[in-house]
Amino acid sequence: MSDGTPTKKAPYVVPIGPIHPALKEPVQFLFEMEGEVVKKADFAPGQTHRGIEWMGMHRNPVQIVHLTDRICGICGVTHSLAFARAVEQIVDIEVPARADYIRVIIAELERIQSHLLWAGVAAHELGFDTLFYLAWRVREESMDVIEYITGNRINYGLVQVGGVRRDIVPDQHPTIKKCLDGYRDLLGKMLNLFLNDTTISIRCKDTGLLTFEKALELSCVGPTARASGVVKDVRVDYPYSAYGDLDISPILPSAYGGGINGDVYDRIVVRLLEVAQSVEIIETCLKEMPDGPILWESKLPKLLSACKKAHGEAVGRHEAPRGECLHYVAMDGHEAPAMWKVKASSYSNLHSWIPMLEGEQLADVPIIVASIDPCLSCTDRVAVLRGVKRDLMTKEDLHRLSVEKTRRIQGC
């Protein structure tokens, strides 16, 4: 330009989403591009709010625990476990030890299948469909075992307030062990295919960087945080169920030999190594599982009346495959909880998108977006609609609205 302003190409805007092949769930991105480079990124979640918390506040805890299975399509046990743990703290339920071990086994099986599912999605985002098919093919082994233990593939319905609904009997051990051995053999192959492939490493190394400081600042959780070197794992920091009895440590990308860069490649490393860790955990749990009951109270009517009498509030935490998942429950002597709040793991990770995406190429947007393993249906808690126009709510607006609602509820 001749008027002295710095010459630059006019940035153009590329919208991605809410519906786009790069996104497995609806979220809207707006990118200001210069050529192929993302200059500015913004995103708008809240496209797939389902009002599940509202549904829960009209039901009793025994009903909600199965509603929580449906919060996420992949984490079938994460939310029910976190919710059940919150209710158990309020009602003061001592979960039998055997149930704790079964909960850990199913949670770790879920981690295996979730990480493999993610690995497949990541490969697909890289345009590597062969690896995607392979990862999902081997994922089926864990799905089969989950189905074998719980009865169903996705909505396990295994966790009950005060324990689990189905036992793992010794007859089932050989099938589970066979699957675990299969994964142990497979891990080397998966690591080789993902980490030694030149076409993958040139796309993933130094892509979508999230520094240690940024990860701390944004309170990232799960593999996203660990890949940036943040040692953070609810299973270790705040042991629950049978995790306290187990000797585990958070997996950092340095475990594979390299340094910690906090790029997409490191996130692949962390997730693949966590699959191996989960295999070991399940093996240990199967070996050390104590005998005993699997439910605090097998008669549901008694459990219901115990829940009805309870007063108090509690937070249930669980290290989901994507990071810490948190359920806040408050009960006040009614059938239904007075308050139920779900914080899915992706909620903490979404904001890491902005620093990761800015300065990257458009071609890497899908893999960077997928690299935090976003689960938007779990995350979306609010959708604001005014007529047909969509308003953006700031923190102040939300605060004002909550104050208004509190006043309305209290009737003053």
Partner: protein
């Protein structure tokens, strides 16, 4: 340049595919006609993958054993069970059922069970097959 996948795919060409085959090899011109033929034994289909033990499929209700205690309605997360006061029995809407089988757990008489039947798709949510009573 390391491309470990090339070896993998070249080996895979000579292995048996992992996909479960479709019921029919090619899409028949008319699915209903094809199913009729299968029923008459003139055509064969690839059977569906077997359901696991203790699979939770379509609910089965033993009407005669029911005492109308309403407990199942209290634990049904999906409000899929309706009490019919005239007959003192329940009616279960399969389209609403989420197959948690919690009603089976709570039923004092054990009249509710889960069958392995899972092919339940239909366009009418009040079809005869979708209501158990």
């Amino acid at each position: 340049m390391a491309l470990p996948m090339i070896r993998e795919i070249l080996a895979q060409v000579f292995k048996i595919p992992a996909t479960n085959p479709f019921p029919a090899r090619f899409l028949p011109p008319s699915v209903t006609e094809f199913l009729k033929k299968v029923g008459a034994g003139e055509a064969t289909i690839n059977p569906p993958v077997a359901t696991p033990p203790r699979f939770r499929g379509k609910i089965v209700y033993d009407r005669d054993g029911c005492i109308g205690c309403n407990l199942c309605i209290r634990v049904c997360p999906a409000h899929a069970i309706e009490f019919i006061p005239e007959t003192k029995r329940v009616r279960i809407y399969v389209t609403q059922c989420i197959f948690c089988s919690q009603c089976n757990d709570i039923c004092p008489k054990g009249v509710l069970t889960m069958s392995p039947e899972f092919l339940l798709g239909t366009e009418d949510r009040f079809a005869e097959s979708q209501i158990v009573e």
